[in-house]
């Protein structure tokens, strides 16, 4: 079976800095893949290459066998890649419902009118925010802004979901809720790339992990195996110990 997403030699240079260096990996259908590594190792840049926020300097990225690298972000989104941003981005002048409808109206599976509204309400329900549908986004708590962003990506029924540190900055209770929410997505059989620093979340959510350091892949495999790999521990220790909390 062809993987849902595959990267071959994906490379991004910023002037002299190689932020992503000849990266190869595949994501299978229904898989939750952890993309981990110390700060500045190129995780967000990798997501930017996949989502089309940035064009790769070299290499190819394909979605179900057809090449998407080089396409503009809107075309990649329409083909079924949806993402959240490391720093949450909402539409400030709109309500929660309208924010989510943006994904339902223009995403991979496009809807309009009552259909789009019903879809937006369904995903708001899924992330536990249906009661705040009419609230302006300015009035939300931090975790709720993250929920809205997640709902927006889900609303278009994407084939692949890219979550960039979606769990970062949550307090312990919120973190538990957040992990439970992503586990639900996983149980629904969604295909997800999870960029994350929270080790507990990675252990409990990811089937496999790809580890990056200074732009290159240094390990790939089953989550437990990878996290016990001496090279991986070394890479993390060079910066900071992975949080076991």
């Amino acid at each position: 079976m062809t993987p849902v997403l595959s990267l071959r030699g994906a490379t991004k240079r910023f002037g002299g800095l190689v932020a992503v260096n000849e990266l190869d990996f595949d994501v299978a259908e229904h898989e939750v893949l952890g993309l981990i590594g110390p700060n500045g190792s190129g995780k967000s840049t990798t997501l930017n290459l996949i989502s089309g926020a940035l064009p790769p300097t070299a290499g190819t990225i394909s979605l179900r066998g057809s090449v998407i690298s080089g396409l503009p972000a809107q075309d990649i989104a329409r083909r079924g890649v949806a993402r959240t941003f490391q720093l949450v981005r909402l539409l400030p002048s709109m309500t929660v419902l309208e924010n989510v409808m943006a994904g339902a109206v223009f995403g991979h599976r496009r809807r309009w009118g009552h259909d789009a509204e019903a879809q937006a309400m369904r995903v708001l329900d899924l992330v536990g925010l249906s009661r705040r549908a009419q609230a302006p986004v300015g009035s939300l708590t931090y975790i709720d802004t993250k929920r809205v962003e997640l709902a927006r990506t889900l609303a278009g029924e994407p084939k692949v979901l890219l979550l960039d540190e979606w769990l970062a900055g949550l307090n312990p209770t919120e973190l538990e809720e957040g992990i439970a929410l992503i586990r639900r997505l996983r149980d629904e059989g969604r295909t997800i790339i999870l960029v994350e620093h929270v080790m507990d979340a990675i252990r409990s959510l990811c089937d496999r992990c790809v580890v990056m350091s200074s732009g290159s892949k240094i390990a790939e495999g089953e989550t437990e195996e990878v996290l016990n790999d001496p090279g991986v521990i070394e890479a993390y220790l060079g910066v900071e110990e992975p949080a076991h909390a």
Partner: protein, 310 residues
């Protein structure tokens, strides 16, 4: 349609019906002010349809306007007057699309400069064309009266409002609102942002060209300096910002007081108009960043908040 939409439409229809009665009830002085108001209503409202949500400041109004004026000036030799209007609209829209494709990927600053340059460029081309052909200007002799011009401009303004209303409720309108909030989010949600901007920019292009075409018979004699005056572009921007671009009815709230103010200023200080125009621009941007719309909604918010606590 929501109850609020229905009320808005009803009020709009009534106001336009009332406006259409003006020529029956006024002298020629007020009629000429009416023409000015109707003209700037069409120009500023269509300008704000594009520039409001996208924040791209277009100074191309004079270019489209002048092209429309010349379309009628030249076209009237070969065809009935009324046929020149749709032709002007198409030329304006196509030119706007070309400008949009060339510039709307760039940042806002380049867009402003480009659109300002466009008016000058088109004017130079026409001046050059006239020098080559030996003609200095064009006579547009018709039996069209001031009343007809007023009604046509009022009808055009009504069309702009209708277009704005329909777009606001369409997918295109939703796309524009998203794009205005965050272009990166828009792109990642699957919106073809460049196409949306180009489509939307065609509206002020077409409307300004038709406005110029409608006004050509009023000038009788047209030459590039009249048809392509850059002051026009700036005045449209000022009026739209004064009213506020956040609502469809915003620009017209700026157009009406500004037209009267401008009548007074240009009557009293005919030689300082450019200076005063610049000054009013600074004052508006500094004191009223969201225009009258912002003031009105703030006042409304305060009233309803007070109500909530009472």
């Amino acid at each position: 349609m929501t109850a609020r939409d229905r009320r808005g439409v009803t009020i709009g229809v009534l106001l336009f019906a009332l406006a259409a009665l003006l020529p029956l009830a006024s002298d020629s002085y007020f009629l000429s002010i009416g023409v000015t108001i109707a003209m700037y209503t069409a120009l500023a409202t269509s300008w704000a349809l594009f520039s409001g949500p996208t924040h791209y400041i277009s100074l191309a109004t004079a270019a489209f306007f002048g092209i429309g004026t010349y379309t009628t000036g030249i076209g009237i030799e070969y065809m009935p007057y009324w046929l020149t209007l749709p032709i002007a609209a198409v030329i304006g829209a196509v030119l706007a699309a070309l400008v949009g494709v060339a510039t709307l990927r760039l940042s806002g600053v380049y867009f402003v400069i480009f659109t300002l340059g466009l008016a000058e460029l088109v004017r130079q081309i026409i001046t050059w064309g006239q020098n080559v052909s030996g003609a200095k200007g064009l006579y547009v002799l018709t039996s069209i009266t001031e009343e007809h011009i007023y009604w046509q401009l009022t009808g055009l303004s009504a069309l702009v409002f209708l277009a704005g209303f329909l777009i606001w409720r369409s997918r295109l309108g939703f796309a524009v609102r998203i794009l205005g909030d965050d272009e990166e989010v828009a792109r990642h949600s699957g919106i073809h942002t460049a196409r949306v901007k180009v489509l939307l920019f065609m509206i002020p292009g077409a409307v300004a060209a038709v406005t110029g075409a409608i006004l050509a018979p009023r000038y009788v004699y047209i030459e590039p300096a009249i048809a392509f005056t850059p002051m026009l572009s700036f005045q449209v921007v000022i009026m739209a910002l004064l009213g506020g671009t956040g609502r469809l009815w915003g620009p017209v709230v700026g157009v009406i007081p500004f037209t009267f103010l401008w009548e007074a200023i240009s009557g009293t200080f005919p030689n300082q108009t450019t200076l005063l125009l610049g000054l009013s621009f600074l004052v508006i941007v500094y004191l009223l960043p969201r225009g009258f719309v912002g003031l009105i909604e703030e006042a409304r918010g305060r009233v309803s908040r007070r109500g909530a606590f009472a």
